[in-house]
């Protein structure tokens, strides 16, 4: 009631202030939507173009018609790819590599992050920084030394690592482990110290603290790290291009490029179809885990 009285007595100036506030807000929203639409169009154009092209025949693709319109829609590209054993092999290789890499990454980086975040030992802070620094070394710098290492390894032991899909299980973690460890260090560090002390008092050892307290509490962060590791290994191009050559050892991104481009003949319809289908698994995973992913990325900001 008092507020109403005040509103009446101060009527005009108060309304004016509210008005300007909502006008500000309206403008802010307009600009937000303008840029959101702009960026959405910008980023959705390529996939849309891929979808359109994948539904065309080769003849229509090379014809000088409106590239944004399909005159004779066909699923032949999809049928051909999904019945081609080669494409399915690429898909299988990619899936196997990604699943194993994610598993290996988590097995290494979660305990590593726990140790670096919680067990204070000599050099732990330096080691944590070191882990992050390794992530900053780009793969384009590493693939030649790695290749050389594998070659030398081959000379010494007679074990051939190059041109085997599973060699990627050794190579990819050099990218995923540092970053995932770093994410998890941040996430574990945001868990209050008293929580593990309470668990210690309750009689838990470090293993039990990790599995019964830290992993469940840091689950959003863990999922974020998982998605990251999966995306990196699914989309990695340079390493498989360098380390694998036989068609039966290729993963999806490299397979599409090397088998669907024959000399200077680009089989655009199938390339687009293959890329589109290849983009589906990460998309599906994102869609399901998006909420967790965002929670994981922003956790450090709000938990303090």
């Amino acid at each position: 009631m008092t507020t109403a009285d005040i509103a009446v007595s101060q009527g005009t100036p108060r309304r004016a202030r509210y008005g300007s506030m909502s006008r500000d807000r309206r403008w802010a929203l307009r600009w937000s939507y303008f840029f959101l639409v702009l960026f959405a169009v910008f980023f959705l154009c390529p996939p849309l173009y891929m979808l359109i092209t994948s539904l065309k025949t080769s003849a229509e693709i090379s014809a000088a018609t409106n590239p944004w319109w399909i005159y004779h829609p066909t699923l032949s590209n999809y049928v051909e790819l999904l019945t081609s054993s080669m494409y399915l092999t690429f898909f299988r290789n990619s899936a196997l590599v990604s699943i194993f890499v994610v598993t290996i990454t988590m097995i290494i980086s979660v305990p590593a992050a726990f140790a670096l975040a919680r067990m204070k030992f000599w050099g732990s802070a330096m080691l944590a920084t070191g882990v992050f620094l390794t992530y900053l070394v780009p793969d384009s710098l590493l693939f030649i030394p790695l290749f050389k290492m594998f070659a030398v390894f081959n000379e010494w032991t007679d074990i051939q690592l190059i041109n085997k899909w599973w060699v990627l299980l050794i190579v990819y973690p050099t990218l995923t482990v540092p970053f995932c460890t770093w994410i998890m260090i941040g996430y574990f560090a945001s868990i209050p110290k008293e929580l593990d002390e309470a668990a210690l008092m309750d009689g838990a050892n470090y293993r039990q603290i990790l599995f019964k307290i830290f992993i469940p509490v840091a689950l959003p962060g863990l999922i974020a790290a998982t998605i990251f590791a999966f995306t990196v290994s699914w989309a990695q191009f340079l390493y498989p291009l360098a380390f694998t050559t036989s068609p039966d050892q290729l993963v999806l991104p490299v397979g599409i490029i090397t088998t669907l481009i024959k000399g200077d003949v680009f089989n655009w319809g199938q390339i687009m179809t293959g890329a589109l289908l290849g983009a589906a698994p990460p998309l599906i995973i994102y869609a399901f885990l998006m909420d967790y992913y965002i929670a994981g990325l922003t956790a450090g900001a709000t938990k303090g």
């Binding site: 210690l200 008092m201 309750d202």
Partner: protein, 365 residues
Amino acid sequence: MAQVSLRKIVKKYDDTEAVRGIDLDIADKEFVVLVGPSGCGKSTTLRMIAGLEEITGGEIAVDGEVVNDVPPKDRDMAMVFQNYALYPHMTVYQNMSFGLRLKNYPKPEIEKRVQEAARILDIKELLDRKPRQLSGGQRQRVAMGRAIVRNPKVFLFDEPLSNLDAKLRVQMRTEIKRVHQKVRTTTVYVTHDQIEAMTLADRVVVMNKGKIEQIGAPNFLYHSPATRFVAGFIGSPAMNFIPCRLEQAGDGLNVRLSDSISFAVPAERMPRYRSHVGQDLTFGIRPEHLTEAKPNGHSNVGLFDAGIEVVEPMGNETMVFFSIGGTEVCGRIDPNAGARVGAALKMAAHLDHMHLIENTSGRVL
């Protein structure tokens, strides 16, 4: 049930000494409160007892057995933290039973103990909730429940009530006392709140700058503080400290507080003070021992006129502030005594309760 002893406990962080040689014996079933200002080393001491902090020097023994190198999980102690430290992903039941489950207790036994603790703490209807669905007081109860179900040798409380609002704090204080009276577990309780210390403790340990100032029952500390620090720390409002001089007056002794105010020292105190004649000392007296003068006064009172500067009515009593020799002093008077700002009031200092403090050592004489 256990008895805990600390022998010359020292804790150093790099080059700063947080705890500087503490000796303390805690009897079985005793409720001991460590109290002191922040940074006095009380929490560090508690954490060393718990095993969460390494001991730089000295020995901690439980039931005569040195536990310096025993990890916290094997010390059989339970701790309640300031921020409760409940496991956020577990229900109240799971939180309380966590320790028992780790030790592979049989299910019926766990069930029995959790139910019993929940009954004691009155949280039976909360057992299926997650911590985030609980209020601060409820979380505190759960944290205590988690300690109780383990039936440990020792309870450790680290400022458990600091995060609660004033009303709830008083309520939980009573609750903690009630629980201790029921379960009778040896308890070490850390707080910076001297009222908490007074109300809960069998014995209070007053700490300052990493050392123990005094150990004693609450009332003993209140009436016979050993040092100026204890005298000033225990009691609210705090004791008044007025610079004074001890003078010979015929056969007796006089404490001179200002040019116009001087009190005769009660006869039974004279032997204690005689050797300090002529020294500058500090006169300490609690507000409740500075009252309005009554017509048929008691013995051993020093009467003086006070120019009242501030009056704070509290209902059952009134606080008055005035100055003696330039020092602000607080007195506690009857609400009907008619204290008015700017007016003079006849006040009485009850000298049986006075303290004389040596300025150099801070020791109460």
